[in-house]
Homo-oligomer: 337 residues x 2
DNA sequence: TTGGTCTAATCAAACGTTTGCGTGGTTTTT
DNA sequence: AAAAACCACGCAAACGTTTGATTAGACCAA
């Protein structure tokens, strides 16, 4: 009933030829005659022969497997990105294995170790919030396992990465608000420890100074991204001597908290909001942000996957230059308003 | 620089013992003396020895790899479920590979084939919308690859599965609305071809008849789950001679379309909505459903993963009985209202 | 002394596939 | 007719690890 899978050896024995000939026949090697080749293929098909992958991988010392490590799969951004990665790698007959760091540095270190033991051909990583040391990735290069970071990338250039320029995006966002006539624009930013916070701040300042406006540091509040933190920030803006007319929210979650609170106070009409896209359906909400920074997770995933394939298949000598790919972000204007 | 990984053989040569002793030493086999064992372990550590997984898998004929096939990873339900699966299987040192059918039957067939060639130890599957034939799964049993279906399951009992009883959930939902005083309850259902549609209908009817109310077939409309389809259904209800006061939406997407349209017509206040949870943030929306059927994707994923492990590790003879696990769904009342 | 039990290790096969090299036999070239 | 070229295939090693069978030596009992 539960037949052991057919092997090349068995085919060889039946046909009274050597296993190597069978292997070559199945691979259309020129040194196998057409007649024999067809006999091999026919028998293989009729016996339901399936190459034993573990044997091939072992023999070749390659796994055709790509590891993906990301913080949280149930975040829409990441599930979309890995969806792209899987689509892209499947085309090239690679297999994807993945794991979640759950934003823990220790877990990330463990996972990198595990992926290395699994002998992945390459790694795609979006780093955890907790990660500030990167030794665990450096070890990989000595094993010749290329790594491409995406979206959440380390703060230096000598790695391969794909990311969105949040700075540029923020410039676009603030410019958009300025063009709409806003002159006092506030920002609910994340913790100063986050690279992403600095990018937002830099973009904000660039837009403000480029437009010859005065930069008021009290209009940028660093919060912990919780609901209470958002409420505290909102209160500061509402009571600000220069009460802002527009607020840039760190992300859609913050925007949600903000909308909820401003509605409760019945002052939502006093503000135009802009946010960074996390939630696909945010535009369905009443008083939703009038614009969103789209970071193209699918595109980022695609590009990262293809870069990794390049690295895997490149001659070793060429691995000198680093891919630093920036995916341009767009400001998506919410038509509903 | 790029050192080839250390092998057991090398360790053996350095220590002047046989590879088998090294292997046994590393595995604490009793027939290796404590002194030798420690020498082996020390040297292994200092040489950064990592077992070559592909070799082990090949040798053991097991891959310690579980395949997961699901329709669409970027759907919140599925990303949560696979997140649970990964968490659960990582604990047991299994590796997860996954692929998306994108709701295509042909793709699903290809993927099952691919997973089989990858020699996965088992398969977790949520079937595609297009799938009505199941031969591709039956083939797996002859290769002794167990399959556990979750959420989207085939319409028969002689398979292993984990799912939520949408029927029970619907009974709860309708009962909830009845208790709130509603007497005319409508339902926007999916296409009749979908198993999920029948479950909803059955649940609806059971609740109605159990409460000795008259069942009015015109209050259940089968739609194609598009925005236009939802609008058409809504129009029928609005113009219905017995205009309903509550509507059960097929899912959150339909609910979103519905809310949008009813708001536009300014009749949203005339209806109480209930939906089935797909979108985590739906409750943040104004006029959101007053209750949602929670289907516990994380729990379903966990259970499916554990059942699969049971099947993999069970003695062959015991594989007779089928796991048919129903995860109870809950009606989550939206407090905001 | 013979036989038995234990300990600590070795030997060799096995898993399935790929691949460099070798080798008869036939055909072509000079 | 000898040399060269080519065709179609076989041989055997290799990839790294595990494991059943075996062994050499030490110790003990009768």
């Amino acid at each position: 009933m539960q037949s052991k899978p057919t092997t090349i050896k068995e085919i060889a024995k039946i046909l009274n030829i050597s296993p190597s000939s069978v292997s070559r026949g199945l691979h259309d090697h020129p040194s196998i005659g057409a007649v024999t080749r067809e006999k091999i293929k026919q028998l293989a098909k009729s016996l339901n022969y399936e190459p034993n992958n573990t044997a091939i991988l072992f023999q070749k010392g390659k796994t055709y497997t790509i590891g993906v490590i990301l913080p949280e799969l149930s975040e829409h951004f990441f599930s979309t990105a890995i969806s792209a990665i899987e689509d892209e790698l499947l085309k090239k007959n690679y297999t994807v294995i993945f794991a979640q760091s759950h934003d823990s540095y220790e877990q990330e270190v463990r996972l990198v170790e595990k992926m290395k033991n699994q002998r992945v051909d390459g790694l795609l990583v979006s780093i955890s919030k907790d990660t500030s040391k990167f030794d665990h990735f450096e070890k990989l290069s000595s094993f010749n396992i290329p790594v491409v970071f995406f979206d959440r990338i380390p703060p230096f250039k000598n790695v391969h990465y794909v990311a969105c320029s949040i700075e540029n995006a923020t410039i676009k966002a603030v410019n958009f608000l300025l063009k709409k006539g806003h002159r006092t624009i506030a920002m609910i930013n994340g913790p100063t420890t986050l690279f992403a916070s600095n990018e937002r701040k830099d973009g904000y300042m660039q837009a403000i100074t480029f437009n010859r406006l005065k930069y008021d540091p009290s209009l940028i509040i660093n919060c912990d991204l919780t609901e209470q933190g958002t409420i505290d920030a909102a209160n500061q803006f509402i009571n600000h001597k220069r009460k802002p007319t527009a607020i840039v929210a760190f992300n859609d979650y913050v925007a949600l908290f903000l909308i909820k609170y401003l509605k409760k106070l019945n002052v939502i009409q006093d503000f135009d909001l802009v946010s960074y896209a996390n939630l696909p359906i945010i535009s369905y909400i009443d008083n939703s942000p009038i614009a969103s920074v789209e970071q193209y997770p699918y595109l980022q995933g695609q590009k990262a996957a293809n870069i990794l394939l390049d690295l895997i298949n490149a001659p070793k000598a060429e691995n000198q230059a680093y891919y630093n790919t920036i995916v341009e972000s767009d400001l998506v204007i919410n038509e509903e308003k």
